[in-house]
Amino acid sequence: MDLSTPLDLSTPLDPGGTETATEPALSRAELSLTVRTAVSDVLGTEVGDIDEATDLGNDFGIDSLELMDVGSRLENALRVKIPVSDLLEARTVGDAVDLLARRMGRAA
């Protein structure tokens, strides 16, 4: 109904919430692209405008709701719980990718 919202990553891959472990592991590059896509969706940029050195606070003045939005999109896309502390701790996009990789139990 809402015509103004572009498609986003927030469609859950597993809407029933029954976690399965059959997902193939994401490579570091894939994980990075997922994070950069979520960030660019929230900030209205192109994915190419976001790299791992991008500092969301200093470069974009991201606010706390936008940060939550990034986190929520990643939770939906990756089916992983992301604590608020992780969101606040990650200074750059690269930091966030590293943290996520650890949370997902895979070496970065």
């Binding site: 109904m1 809402d2 015509l3 103004s4 919202t5 572009p6 986003d8 927030s10 469609t11 859950p12 809407p15 919430g17 969706d41 929230v42 900030l43 209205g44 940029t45 709701l65 936008e66 939550m68 939005d69 929520s72 939906n76």
Partner: protein, 419 residues
Amino acid sequence: MKGASPSGRVRVVVTGLGVKSPAGNDVEAAYARLLAAESTAVVAKHLVEAERDLAVEMACLVPEFEVEPYITRRERRQLDRAAELLLCAAVDAVSDAGELALVDLPSSRVGVQVGTGMGGLGTMEGTTFDYGAHPMTMPVHTVPRTMANSPACRVAMRYGFRGNCATYATACASGTTAIGEAARRIRYGELDAAVAGGVDAPVTTTIVGAFAKMRALSRRCDEPDRASRPFDTDRDGFVMGEGAAVLVLERRDLALARGARIYGEITGYAANCDAFHIAAPDPEAVTAAECMRLAVADAGLSPGDIGHISAHGTSTVLNDRAEATAVHRCFAGQSPPLTAVKGVSGHLIGGSGALEALLGLLCADRGVVPAVANTLGSPEADLVDVVIGSRRTIARGPVLSNSFGFGGQNACLVLTPPA
């Protein structure tokens, strides 16, 4: 009081206009469409494609326009359609008034006053359809996107206007209420300037269905462009519309001092309530007539001074008949020429009062009363002077702009062109 005229009254002028409406996305386009008396109603593709078996699938929609020049992609993600339309109309109005001059005023002396009947209801409807089964997957910005005061607060944020920012819900009278209350705040010395207007984006399946369910909407679905016909013998309900209209109001002495272009003056305002029925107007229309009388008196005028009336004129039998009765009472049988914008624009709910005040002031200034679109003959012709067939030329003079909303909400403005 600061800024008061010799009569002791602080005068409030209109210095900027902006519209995003079915009649057009700039002021002159909307005015031209009104004068042409051509309806904008169409079959709404998104209502048809929803396949919800709606009894009514026509509406008056805002023509597509480029939003990017107004709103960044980043901000747009956080706005719903109502906030977007209102913000774009406000940007036009502020630019028209002179953005630099407005942001130069002390920020605490500039306010934002917006009326909306539905607020973010349509957006919450979409959210419910999309995420209702799994609420924790809904977008993080759902609350700020759907709260009723978002449109007003987005305007305040855009310009850093820190004066009173309020959102009014008086159903179909909301836009009129916002302009009247804004003018009062300037008169009372609370503000020096205000961005004031109304908006709604109610063309959704649930909202249209809800109005159709109460038989408020026209069923002339095979002829959408003939459906909205205020005061016409064959009217059968209103046509839902969407859109926003915004006026910049300023204390007259400050506007004159900065050499602002002045479209006219908000000279009178009144509001009251039928306290009769939650949707139907009181057919005796004593309270609505009193509202008109109070607005005219607030302007320091007599009914005979009113050059024309921009009626609420929804094209429902109940509204139009009660409004005609009220005009007949207020003007003691001497109705000035009366027109109704909704024949062209449909009913923008909270947006209508603002759009009609804006267009009414232009008509008052240009000495033209447009014919009511689609209306061929009126059973109320013995009560009011409905302008039918072709536009009427009149002497420049004040316009009475009426709005009546569900709940018995009555709100009337008097707008006077510059001398």
